[in-house]
Symmetry: none
Subunit: 188 residues, 4 copies
DNA sequence: CACTAAACGAGACGGTACGTCCCGTCTTGAA
DNA sequence: TTCAAGACGGGACGTACCGTCTCGTTTAGTG
C-alpha cells in the first residue's frame, strides 16, 4: 500500500517532467498529478524535491532496463543477447520522448544525475549480464564479474555515442559485438 | 573596463562557490563578494543565476587549461608534452580544493555542466595539442585534427578515471603515453 | 482567524504609516510590524502595496466613524446629535496625529484616496444619520434618504473646512446646526 | 532656450501620461519622448519624477485656464462671462480625453494632486474674474476680492459636480448664473 | 579664432522595493 | 492513524525605476 503511493507519486512526477521539464516540475505539480497533498509527498520523500527528482530519474531508468530485460529474454546465446540489447536499447533511447525532450531542453540536470548514478547504472547492466558470462568460457585470469563490468561499460558507452557504428543495422551490430565486445575475451 | 567588472564578478562568484557550494551560491552572494550591486550582476549576466553559474564553471575550466598550458610550455617533444600534461592535470585535479569539494557534496550540478560543455572542453584540449601533431609524422590517412581529437579524448578520459595507471608515477605515465597514446599512431 | 491576521496587518501597516508616512511605508515594514512574512501579506492583499495602502486608509476611516458613532450615541434628538457629531468630529480630526502628519507631509496620496472614496464615506455618514431622519417630520416631498444625503455632505464639508464657524465653540455649533443644517428642512 | 527645453519636457511627459497613465509614466519615457536624455530631465526637474508629475498636472491645468480665458475673452458683461465660462469649462472637462482617461483609471493620483493644488487653482480663477467684479457695483461691505473668491469656488464646484443643472443647456446656465451666482450679490 | 564654460547624451552604477515563486514545516480537521 | 488542505516563514529570484555620477561631445559665448 505504501509502495503503491510511492509508485503513484513517482509516476505522477514523471508525467510532470514530461510536460514541464525537470527544472520546472514542482513538488506541488507532482502532488496534484498524483491526487495527493504536498504534505504526503514529503512523507514519502523526506529529502524533498531533490530526492523526488533523483528518484524519478532512477525509477524511469529502472523501468528502462526492465523493458530491456524483457526484450532480450529470448536470446539463445551471449552474442545474440548483446546484439539484441544494443539494438533495442539504442532504439529505445532514440524514441524515448521524455528523455529526448529533456536532453534537448535541459541536459545539465539529467546528465548530472546520470553521471552521478553512473556506477549504479553500470551495476544494473552488469548484474543483468553476469549470468550469461558465468555460463561461458572466459580467458584465463578473467573473472566473470570483471568481464561483465567491462562489457557493461562498453555497451553503455556505445548506446550513448555509437561512434562509427549504425546501431540500427543488425549486420553492423553483429559485427560490432563480435569484433569489439567479445573478441578480446576469447584471446587466451 | 567592462571586462574588468565581468571578471570581478566571475572571480567573486567562484569564491562564493568555494565557500558555499554551487547550489547555495546566491546572486546576492556573488554581488556582495564582488563589491557590486545585484542589479549590476544582472546587467552583465542577463541570463541570471543560471548563466552566472555556467560561466563560473567555464571560466575556472579556462583558467585550469591556461595553467596546464603554462605547465607544459617547456616540453621538448610530443611524448614529453603528453607526459607532462597528464601528470600535471592529474595532480591539479586532485589538489583543486573547490573542485574536489563540489565533486563530493554536489556532483550533479558540476558534472551536468561539464557533460554539456564536454565538446567545448575537448575542443580546448584539441586546439592545444594540434600544433604538436602538425609538426610530427603521422600514419597515412590520419589528419592532425583527427589524431588530436582522439588523443584529447583519451587524455581527458584518463584524467577523469586513470584506470590501472598511477598518474603520480612518472615512469608509468611515460609507459602509458608510449603504449596507449602514441603507439597506435606510429603504425603505418 | 483569517480576519484576525488581516486585521493585524492593517493595524501594523497603520502603525508604519504613523512612523514612516504613506509613501515610505513598505510591504516589508508592514509585514515585520505584524510579525508576519511578506509572503503572507501578499496572501491577504493580493493587490500588493496599493491595495494595502488603500485598505489601511479605509480601515482607519472606518474606525474613525465607529468612534464618532460611539460619541454621539447618547444624543437625545437630531439637533443634539448633529451638534455632538460636528464637535466631536472636528476635534477628532484636529487631534488625529497620524492624519495631521500625513496631511502636512504628503497630502496628495491621502487626499487622492479620500476623494476617490468620497462616495463611500458619504454613504457611511448617511447610513449613520438615516435612522434619525426617519423618526422626524420632514418637509413635504423630501425623503429621509435625500435629506440624510444632503446633511451628510454638509457635515463632511463643514468638518473639512468650517469656513466662518468655530467648531470648538458649542454655541456657534448649535447656531450652525439650526440655521444651516436644519432650517432648510423645516420650511414646508 | 532653457524654458524651451522645460516646455518640451512637460509636453512630452504629458503625451506619455496620455499613453501610459500617470502611474506608469517613467522619467525615461518622458525623456525619450522629449528627445532628451534622462540626465537632462533631472537637470530641469531636480525633484525627480514627483516634481515632474506635479508640474505636468499644473502645466496642463494652466493651459486649460488659458483656453478658458481665450474662450470668454469676448464676453460683454459679467453674466455673459460667467455663462460662457461655465459652458466652455464643462464642455472642455468632458471632452478632455487624457483627463477623462486618468480620472477613470487612476483617479487617486490626479485628484490628490488637484486637491492639494486646490488653493492655487481657486486663485487662478479668482485672478481671472477679479477685473470683472471691480468694474461692477457690489453689495455694501463686500470687497471685489471676497466676491471673486466666492464665485470662483462656486464655479469650480459647479464644473466638478453640476448637481441639478445641465451645463450643456445655455438657458439653464443663464438661469443658474442669475439665480445662484449673482443674485446674492445684488441684494444690498 | 581659439578657448573656456555650459548644456547635453550616453550610460554605468548603487540602491530599493516590488511581486512571484517555491520550498519545507506545521497545524487542523475529517475519514 | 493517515491523509487532505492549506497557512505560514523563509528566502531567492528577476524586474523595474529611481537618483547619482562620470565621461565625452557638442555648442555657445568671450577674450
Amino acid at each position: 500500500m505504501a509502495d503503491d503511493v510511492r509508485e503513484r507519486i513517482l509516476q505522477a512526477a514523471f508525467a510532470c517532467v514530461a510536460r514541464y521539464g525537470l527544472a520546472k516540475t514542482t513538488v506541488e505539480d507532482a502532488a496534484r498529478a498524483a491526487g495527493l497533498s504536498r504534505a504526503t509527498v514529503y512523507r514519502y520523500f523526506p529529502g524533498g524535491r531533490d530526492q523526488l527528482v533523483r528518484e524519478v530519474i532512477s525509477w524511469e531508468a529502472g523501468r528502462f532496463f526492465a523493458r530491456l530485460a524483457a526484450a532480450v529474454a529470448g536470446a539463445p546465446d551471449l552474442p545474440a543477447l548483446l546484439e539484441e540489447a544494443l539494438v533495442f536499447a539504442h532504439e529505445a533511447v532514440e524514441s524515448h520522448e521524455v528523455l529526448q525532450k529533456v536532453l534537448q531542453t535541459e541536459p545539465e540536470v539529467l546528465l548530472g544525475q546520470l553521471t552521478v548514478d553512473a556506477d549504479r547504472i553500470v551495476g544494473l547492466v552488469k548484474v543483468f549480464l553476469l549470468p550469461s558470462f558465468e555460463a561461458v568460457a572466459l580467458p584465463a585470469g578473467a573473472g566473470a564479474a570483471t568481464v561483465a563490468d567491462y562489457v557493461a561499460r562498453m555497451v553503455l558507452s556505445l548506446i550513448e555515442s555509437p561512434g562509427r557504428w549504425d546501431l540500427t543495422d543488425r549486420d553492423q551490430v553483429k559485427d560490432l559485438v563480435r569484433t569489439e565486445l567479445l573478441a578480446p575475451l576469447s584471446q587466451v
